[in-house]
Amino acid sequence: MIIAAFVITAFAALVLVAVSRTHRQMNSICIGEAAVFLILAVWLLLSGQVPVLSFVLGNQYFFIDHLGIYEALIATIIFLLAAIYARGYVDNLLESHELGRGSLKLFYGAWAFLLALIVLAFFSDNLALFWIFTELTTVVSAILIAILYARDNIDAAIKYIFIASVSMLFSFVGLVFLFQISRSVFGTGTLNWTVLMQQAPAYPAGMMIAAFALIFIGLAAKSGIFPFHTWLPEAHVRAPSAVSAILSGVLLNVGIYGIIRVFAIVHRTTAVSTVTILLLVSGLLTVGIAAFSMLPQKKLKKLIAFSSIENMGLILIGLAIATPLAIFWTLFHVMAHSFTKAGLFFSAGILHRQYHSPLSADAVDDMHDVFRFQPVAAWGIILGGLAIIGMPLFPVFLSKLFILTQLFTVSLPALALLLVLLFIAAASLGYYVISTFTTVSQGPGDRDIVAYKTPAGMKWPIIILLVLILILGTVFTSGEIAFLDTIVSELMF
């Protein structure tokens, strides 16, 4: 029944967006939708109903387990903060004529719809249903990217749609394979994850490898894994920063979530040894490509986008290790990365508003005197940057440390390689921040620049996220550990 509450809320939000007139109203509706979703998710968690298995719909299309509610919580928190942030940000887009007033309805409608789709994807038991929701998130988020008055945005959106959708078709073929496997073993085929998990030990290895590889292609494209990552930097740079935060903090998780689910099935078959090699190699390649692309990067948002790719690679490596401890910290890393990255994109958005970066994706940012103009955003970037490269006190430090120590038990060369790559990525981020943020204008011409008056609604999400990650990185409650442990045991690792 609880699913119905989510669907009704989303539907109400869509209707309200359709009838509302001003930007403020539409924005408030999106904030409200995210807040209601968050309350519902927290209530579900605290009332101890999870896992929810029985629904009115036949054939058990939906279910809610701890992993689903975990991802949904991350998603709703980021959506809530992004919606608060979007008010000031979109106002400025309207003022500078980068966004037409006529597009506002489409923008917020797509926004509200996207949140519902993502949450439903996390609550799908049937993998084909999950596939459809994931595929729809591509289309809807492409609207959010293409919304600005710039042809480069359309370009980026079309590229995103084609790469993601074409790859997702391979996933569907993989799902049909999976269905056929379960049918050949147990007579009647199913794509329900819970049933597949129970049947998994009987599945033949050869077909499982083929099925996993095909499913992996599409979900890898959704989460920006090499070699399907090419859409990601462009889309993240082009999109309005509030949307970039969602793309990076939430949408990439959808792909990773799918990979975790399917890998959990494979983990119970004999195909696991081959599949872990696939995951490990593509994870290392992804981190490598991201690290070397970050090195010469002169554009802040692109740098942050490549850092997302790097973290997705790290998550794959964590999965490939496949010990319960590694899975625990991989899940933690998913959350740590999402919150940190959202904060970074929010800060980058403020700087973007201040300095109105040039049109091209590769043009150099022209930033100077950041501390004079935008102290909050500057500190957001510095602290967020420290957090994302994994400095102590921040949650990424913990997850990276434990994933790396677990990797040590699997393969020493891989660990050495990964350390070098992570160092390169961290160094390039540090180099960029130091060289940009220490630039102080000298000529009198630069004095003309007017400081962009950042609305409080754009500053607070950054501060909240920074506080949140500081708490996550320093305080570890037993409830949190028990919660993550439950997810690991539900995934049967």
């Binding site: 054939n59 299309y61 049937n126 084909a128 249903l129 459809i132 595929e135 729809l136 289309v139 492409a142 609207i143 293409a146 042809r151 359309i154 370009d155 959106a157 079309i158 590229k159 749609i161 084609f162 959708s165 074409v166 078709l169 391979f170 569907f172 073929v173 049909v176 269905f179 056929q180 049918r183 050949s184 009647t188 085929g189 794509l191 050869g206 077909m207 083929a210 040039p358 049109l359 091209s360 994706a361 590769d362 043009a363």
Partner: protein
């Protein structure tokens, strides 16, 4: 009931027709015939679903045939033709990476490869000799041929047709395997329609190929420097 062997041979003929339309989609340069070829391909799939229904008798196949007919033979081709008239592009003669001839040769290799690979995977199982095997081979080949179209054409609107052709391959493959619930087939069609509408509308926004558009930006010095653009 109609003789099973007869229906099987009908389905085999339809397989051949599907491959021919796919080859046509790869090689033609005229956009209007491209859309017609796609509509015809979808119609072939409808016939195949009907033939399969007489063969196996699962009512879901009837529903699939119906919904495919409505969406892929009527709505989507109509929509794309409409858009094409609006942006006044009649021919798509530019290709990336692959010329039509190379694509055709490559697709022959692809079909052969998939035939061998799948017969390897499925040897010994009951699936090897059934229609499922041929459905899988033709479906996946059609998918890869569609992918070739998506990546070798320059205009977004032709890319869409490549994608749609891929999706037909998936449907074809799915028809021979699944008892997938109808609701899922239905949602996939909804997804497809949204995707087609969005991409075609966006391509009106572009109104030209992505590369041409970058060239134009360069010419007006709006962009200082791009890596490779596309």
């Amino acid at each position: 009931m109609i003789d099973n062997a007869f229906i099987e041979s009908v389905i085999r003929v339809l397989f051949a027709v599907v491959i021919i339309t796919a080859a046509y989609i790869i090689s033609t340069r005229n956009l209007i015939t491209l859309v017609s070829a796609y509509a015809f391909q979808s119609l072939t799939l409808v016939c195949m679903a009907l033939a399969l229904y007489f063969h196996e008798g699962t009512p879901v196949l009837l529903a699939i045939a119906f919904i495919t007919f409505i969406s892929k033979v009527l709505i989507i081709p109509y929509f794309i033709t409409n858009i094409q008239e609006r942006i006044r592009i009649k021919r798509d003669i530019e290709f990336h990476f692959l010329s039509p001839t190379t694509s055709l040769l490559l697709s022959m290799a692809v079909i052969l490869f998939i035939y061998l690979a799948l017969s390897n995977i499925l040897t010994g199982t009951a699936a090897r000799d059934s229609l499922f095997f041929f459905g899988a081979v033709i479906g996946i080949s059609l998918m890869l041929m569609g992918m070739m179209v998506t990546f070798s054409r320059k205009r977004a609107i032709t890319k869409v047709l490549g994608y749609l052709s891929m999706e037909n391959g998936v449907l074809l493959f799915g028809m021979f395997v699944t008892e997938l619930p109808f609701i899922i087939e239905f949602l996939i069609v909804i997804d497809l329609i949204i995707l087609v509408m969005l991409t075609t509308i966006l391509s009106v926004g572009l109104d030209s190929t992505l590369e041409e558009y970058h060239d134009r930006l360069h010419r007006f010095h709006l962009v200082e420097d791009t890596e490779d653009g596309s």
